[in-house]
């Protein structure tokens, strides 16, 4: 039993922080009119590849680093903290789909390429109405002359434009199944959306009779398995962002003077900040528990992942909103980074469903498995 981070986790976190504080650059995004095109996706990706981050949780057998989900949470926390923009979310999501649903040959080939930084992926599971439940899809897959083709449309696909291949959830005659398509296929159309969080590329993707390679081991467990891991990624990002935004807010409250004293001396401000400190502690604890539980295959893993995501994304919204209020009107301007965090927070609470959806999952799990109430 040990509920604290060990020195290796702390060292990994500190190294990632040192690297990103040097390399992650928000200034181009703070020019009015900036879009995700200025976020520096490619440059940051190349630097992450040098560190081996695309393969951080790819098993060693497939050429990855084979590190733990706790290690991943350390890195994702720092990415959330710095808002470093790169197609890592999409690549992780796609790689997990291959790991869970791919054949042995597909895993050997594709995961090796991911780990080497030569293959960027995206995962397309969201319907036009925002549903992402692994069962519904607006994409259909049919077999023609023994080959699969897919047609239809996905909304809100993270990193699709930056990807080399897209993993898409499509309906066959009788079930949902995952397929691989080439981003460069002329029958694939990717529209980069004017997503409000300009540190993340989010796209709509259309397929018009695109030839597709099935991930042969897809089953009903595939999506929940991937989703739990994506919950961890977003929650870790959010918790990292919370820590950074809280620190920024505290620093500002100590420096900004009004009525002859730092505004942080007023209870109206300091009590708000105390509440944010509580959110920070809880969000981080939830992320660590989820990362551990997923890594161990603990029976609480799905519960822990849904708890972490519901709490961290809601808390991140509260912290970033308060941050703007404490900064005052200057925090409302485009040239300050406050809004980048606020928009990231809001978007993290929508990309995989809202916090109340994850809370509903929590209750469902407890109804189905009452033993979890005493674990």
């Amino acid at each position: 039993m040990d509920f604290s981070l060990n020195e290796e986790h702390e060292a990994l976190r500190d190294n990632a922080r040192a690297f990103l504080s040097k390399e992650a650059e928000l200034s181009k995004l703070l020019v009015p009119g900036a879009t995700v095109a200025q976020a520096g996706y490619d440059g940051m990706w190349n630097k992450m590849v040098e560190l081996g981050w695309p393969g951080i949780v790819v098993p060693e057998a497939y050429g990855g680093l084979g590190m733990t989900y706790l290690d991943l949470a350390m890195v994702m926390g720092e990415i959330g903290r710095s808002l470093a923009a790169a197609p890592l979310f999409g690549t992780l999501a796609g790689a997990w789909a291959v790991e869970k649903a791919g054949s042995e040959d597909q895993k050997k080939l594709l995961l090796g390429e991911v780990a080497a930084g030569r293959l960027r992926l995206a995962l397309a599971v969201t319907c036009a109405n925002g549903t992402a439940d692994g069962a519904h899809s607006d994409v259909k897959a049919v077999q023609r002359d023994g080959r699969w083709v897919v047609s239809g449309r996905n909304a809100f696909v993270v990193d699709a434009d930056a990807a080399d291949k897209i993993v898409v959830l499509a309906r066959t005659k009788d079930k949902g199944q995952f397929f691989l398509v080439d981003r460069g296929d002329r029958n694939v159309t990717v529209d980069v959306l004017e997503w409000r969080d300009i540190t993340r590329q989010v796209c709509a993707v259309s397929y018009n009779n695109v030839s597709a390679e099935p991930l042969s081991q897809s089953d009903d467990d595939t999506w929940p398995w991937i989703r739990d891991r994506l919950y961890l990624v977003l929650a870790a990002e959010s918790a990292g962002g919370i820590q950074k935004v809280l620190a920024d807010t505290v620093e500002y409250a100590k420096e900004r003077v009004a009525f002859g004293k730092p505004i942080g001396a007023f209870q109206a401000i300091k009590h708000q900040l105390a509440e944010l400190a509580g959110l920070d502690q809880c969000a981080t604890a939830g992320v660590h528990f989820a990362a551990w539980a997923l890594g161990e295959g603990d029976k609480r893993a799905s519960l822990a992942a849904a708890m972490a995501q519901s709490y961290a994304s809601a808390a991140y919204r509260d912290v970033t909103y308060r941050n703007i209020q404490v900064f005052g009107a200057i925090g409302f301007t485009w040239e300050m980074k406050n809004h980048l965090y606020y928009k990231r927070a809001r978007s993290n609470a929508e990309l995989l469903g809202a916090p109340r959806h994850q809370r509903d999952q929590v209750v469902r799990l407890l109804e189905k498995t009452p033993e979890l109430l005493s674990a």
Partner: protein, 400 residues
Amino acid sequence: MDFNLPGEDDPRRLAVRKWFEANPSPSYAQLAKQGYVVPHWPEPWGLGAEPELQLIIDQEIERAGIVHPMTFNVIAINQCGQSLLTHGTKDQRQKFLPPALACEERWCMLFSEPSGGSDLGNLRTTARRDGDHYIINGQKIWNSMANKSQIGVLIARTDPEAPKHRGLSVFLIDMKTLGVLVRPIVDMTGEEPEYNEVFLTDVKVSADRLLGKEGDGWRIVMEQLQTERMHMTKPGAVWGGGPTARELMSGLIQTGKINDPLIRDEAGKLFVEGELLRLLSLRNLSNRINGKPAGAEGNIGKMLASPHGQNLSDLAKRSQGAAGMVRDRSVLPLPPKEYGLFDNWDYAYWFAPAATLGVGTQEILKNAVAERVLGLPRELDPTASLPFNQAKLVKPKGAN
């Protein structure tokens, strides 16, 4: 990192369980003699146990169906007893600790006064040295269990000319001493009184009842309050104790109330919060295993736990509609378990407003978190540096 608690087959657990099998209904005195009441204390009181063994022993006490001695005598066992190890004399330890740990003598805290609970340093009870005695005069209030206690841990002013926080001292007094009058306060729950007023009139206390040195009082009670707040970083309905969100969820599922979509969402939210509080309390434990010093995190814990507990009993009540307004202890079922004082949602609910008042109001806690965890500027107290007997005369700015 490893979130598994010590397992069923842990050899330390097997050894403890074996003792409980040999001693199926031990008295508190037997538990104390075995070192199971305060395992983390050094011998002879405890076992010098590391936190994991402490956790195992607590779990095995619960498994044996025994109300934990802490529930009966929390002020001695958790908050104040430890002060005797750090500040007490050998004679004080020998005299006070054995009956306290055996639960033969209950302790109460005599801290707050009508002149101020949040501004505790403003207390006016005096202890005047008179030969080998002190003569104590004043009034205390909100003293939990004072009507059932044999020993009172009292803070009083020994030096009225020192600044308010420096002229204070702590005494261990017999509650049956002549001049000590205890009057229970009927609180808004209408249940058996928890709190009391204590009037002290020319109470003669031997000088060997002084804990630590004269003037150490503020430091000692602040340590005790930190220990108390740390203890409250738990997910129970009142001050960390009583039923948790797990039992609330269980009751809502059992009664079908969980199918109301609004209750469902609130219950989900509270369940998540409760589990995170549980993780925080375990992390505090781990930090001690790993030798990290206990810091100001107890303040964050209580700041989170008190409103969380209030929200638990609030949802338990609201899920019942008008039926919840009837005095009925069984209105929302609880799984069978030892819950301590708050063993039903009705009492927990009507007691709940006190959770953000006692052991530091929510506002005092937020100040402590902001100042001691986040490093924000401290509240200014214009009376803090003046001799107490002059500070009393300082009028607030703007007052007539």
